[in-house]
Amino acid sequence: MRDNNRTEHNIFIGKLFRDKVFLMSSVLFLLIVIIALIAPLISPYGVNEMNIKDRLAKPFFLEGGSFNHIFGTDGLGRDIFTIILFGLRNSLLIAFLSVVVIFGIGIIAGLLSGLGGRKIDNLIMTMVDIQLSLPIIIVAVILLAMTTPTIFTITIVLGVCGWPAYARSTRATVLVENKKDYIVAAKMMGAKTFWIIKRYFIKTVILKALPFFVLEFGLMIIWESLLSFIGLGIQPPNVSLGTIMGNGIIYLVNAWWVTTIPGFFIIMITTSLSFINRRLTLILTQ
């Protein structure tokens, strides 16, 4: 049995990495995560190191730019490469934690709904319907305007806004699986619900959710950036990709790099995750 599982696992990994686009996307994303993790070691300046005399310096690839600030500086003379490195840390962390919350709440709610009986199912699905009828951005804006936006509150808000879709998806998976012969047989042999969930449902649910986990991660990067862009995300002196873009919008006409370069990083992250998701979906649905 163990050898079979290991073989299945190897086949799965082999199939994934056979695709060059998947490989490149994974490497790119991993590289971004690594540079975010080691930001304090590689950043040429302090994250809030301001040099007013050097504000709005051009990136190296523009005339007048230099390698002192490879991506230029912002309105307060902060090195953009440095604040992108630290901004990536916060953006990636919030995205990851939000996805964990979304899937955590979604999967638990879906399992309860699918296995808990009609009353629990109706209650949870009603909550899902209500939540899905409210636009995420309005809920997020209201909740964050009422609190002080921190990594914790932003994570909770995004998590609370995103769980319903996964609750429904998990519930559907559970309802289908519950009717299968081996589950019926396990129940007849006296297997407890918790054991059945642990032995059969969790793996199926997680495998089915995996592509969406990747996609949702990219979506959370965008949502976090949007909230920070409009001032409801990370607060100064902390930075995220969205705050850097938001700070730079008034300079869009004459110092476009302040807003555009962090945006480019967002595009790289979401595009690589999109390609990873595509390959995962293809293999898991074969």
């Binding site: 301001m50 709005l56 307060l76 001032g231 607060q235 002196p237 008034i250």
Partner: protein, 513 residues
């Protein structure tokens, strides 16, 4: 044949309508404001700059002030055509005759009395425009006497800030609902963020030739810029310094600049710790790099070396002007009992975004420079509406960024309103020495002596006790469409549309008499 005639007639109607639309567009002036309106048409209920700005077009005052360093004392007659001091306690005004309110009722001395009585309520924010409660006597239909309990040097320049209201509206408590003034523009309606005013055909100085004036609140500086360049807006205010080259390069737009009477302040909440201690306020002020802040602002700011901006009467460079000195800041904090700076409480600091230029940027800079000496700052950047609410709430934050712009040469409209213990506004400072000095200069009606008191006593005292730190003086930058000829916004942040030649004429104001 019949069908052809119908088509021709319909086409003619269509062309006429379309042409009418084009003509209508030509007669419409669109101004974009960076600050929202209050939603309350009672001019005594607020001190909000945008609301004051729009009221300037709907209401008249007794007179108005262009302000400006070249002639800060200049007053232009409006509803008052002449004045004289009967004695040192009584100021008499002769009023303009033949003026009507927008509802058709006549303006006379009863309206002036009713307005000043209405404003003489210490609970109203507008009370701050007056040097104190006033007694107004109606001498005849077009003559009023304003009597004070003691000589008040600030009376004349303060009165010019009060819009004249209708006595009937005050008696019937209609002021908040609908603005009924005597001004050149009549309030028509509001849709969303747009307030629409129509030309007053019966205006005493002659009706504007333009038909409609739209005042639109556009919170974002980039949106204002693109609207100007796209031809949607005729004038935009609070242009960011970085946008100036873009506007200058565009052949359809121009830039106007003026050193204004507006000061930008770092307000300390003086009624509670830690800023109830003047030594702490002074220490924090030494830790702030005001020169660096002016660099961030670029063309939008000029250095402030006094608690009165240079465009006002009474300005004098303060000999003890605070200069950035972090070492001195630390020494003063030790003297104030904070030898261990880690024990200094975290400062809650509120600023706005989207209204004044670069507030977020220099707020971060202030937080960073305070952080360099070990002071922790909890910075909150708020949209304009919640920021306004927080600024007026004494319990909100320890430090607040705000501006103060009063369209009069009168220095008391800055220093008395912000720093006298009776006004209870923004700083909530309760300092007998400051209040005594303010009372002394206000009571001196000899202008030269008054100037000496301000320059040698009051201003140095304010810099010593620093209930608020003047960060810089605002340089107003506005952008205007090329079709607006000779547009000039006054340093008092007001502007007037009166007579226009095609398409827009000289922007000049009333006849001086």
């Amino acid at each position: 044949m019949k069908i052809s005639l119908k088509i021709i007639l319909l086409s003619m109607v269509f062309i006429l309508l379309a042409t009418g639309v084009v003509f209508a567009e030509k007669d419409i002036f669109v101004f974009t404001s960076a600050e929202p309106l209050t939603g309350n048409w009672d001019p005594s209920s607020h001190t909000v700059l945008a609301q004051i700005g729009i009221e300037n077009h709907i209401f008249d005052k007794l007179y108005s002030f262009p302000c400006g360093a070249d002639n800060p004392g200049k007053a232009i007659p409006a509803l008052a055509i002449d004045y004289k001091y009967i004695d040192e306690l009584t100021l008499e005004f002769k009023l303009r005759q033949g003026v009507k309110f927008h509802d058709g009722s006549d303006f006379d001395a009863e309206d002036v009395k009713a307005t000043l009585d209405y404003y003489s309520d210490p609970n109203k924010p507008g009370f701050g425009w007056l040097p104190g409660a006033l007694k107004t006597k109606v001498v005849d239909s077009y003559t009023v006497d304003i009597v004070t309990e003691k000589p008040l040097a600030s009376l004349f320049y303060s009165l010019g800030l009060v819009p004249m209201l209708s006595k009937e509206d005050i008696d019937r408590d209609l002021i908040s609902n609908y603005p009924n003034g005597t001004g050149p523009w009549v309030y028509d309606r509001q849709t969303g963020e747009t307030t629409i005013m129509k030309a007053n055909p019966n205006y005493w100085a002659g009706p504007p030739k333009l038909k409609e004036f739209r005042w639109i609140y556009v919170p974002n500086a980039s949106t204002r810029l693109f609207g100007l360049l796209g031809g949607d807006y005729d004038v935009v205010e609070r242009v960011e310094a970085e946008h100036v080259p873009t506007i200058e390069k565009d052949p359809s737009a121009k830039i106007g600049v003026a050193l204004s009477v507006e000061s930008k302040w770092l307000i300390f909440r003086c009624q509670r710790p830690p800023f109830d201690n003047a030594l702490v306020r002074k220490a924090i002020s030494y830790a702030i790099d005001r020169e660096g802040i002016v660099s961030i602002l670029g063309a939008s700011g000029a250095p402030a070396d006094a608690h009165i901006p240079s465009a006002k009467f009474g300005y004098a460079p303060t000999p003890n002007n605070i200069k950035y000195n972090p070492k001195k800041a630390i020494e003063l904090l030790k003297e104030a009992g904070y030898a261990d700076i880690s024990k200094f409480p975290t400062i809650d600091y509120i600023t706005s975004t989207g209204f004044y230029p670069k507030t977020k940027e220099y707020a971060e800079y202030i937080a960073a420079t305070l952080g360099e000496i070990g002071i922790k700052v909890n910075l909150k950047v708020l949209e304009t509406s919640p920021w306004l609410e927080a600024a007026c709430n004494p319990e909100a934050a320890n430090m607040v960024d705000t501006g103060w712009c009063s369209g009069t040469p009168e220095p008391d409209q800055v220093i008395r309103i912000l720093f006298h213990k009776s006004t209870k506004r923004l700083t909530f400072v309760d300092d007998d020495e400051i209040s005594a000095s303010l009372d002394k200069e206000q009571g001196e009606i000899d202008m030269q002596k008054r100037y000496a008191i301000l320059a040698n006593e009051t201003l140095p005292l304010l810099m010593e006790k620093v209930p608020a730190l003047p960060l810089f003086n605002s340089v107003m930058i506005w952008g205007y469409n090329d079709r607006v000829k000779n547009f000039r916004k006054w340093p008092s942040n007001n502007f007037y549309l009166k007579d226009f030649e095609e398409p827009f004429g000289e922007m000049d104001v009333y006849k001086t008499e």
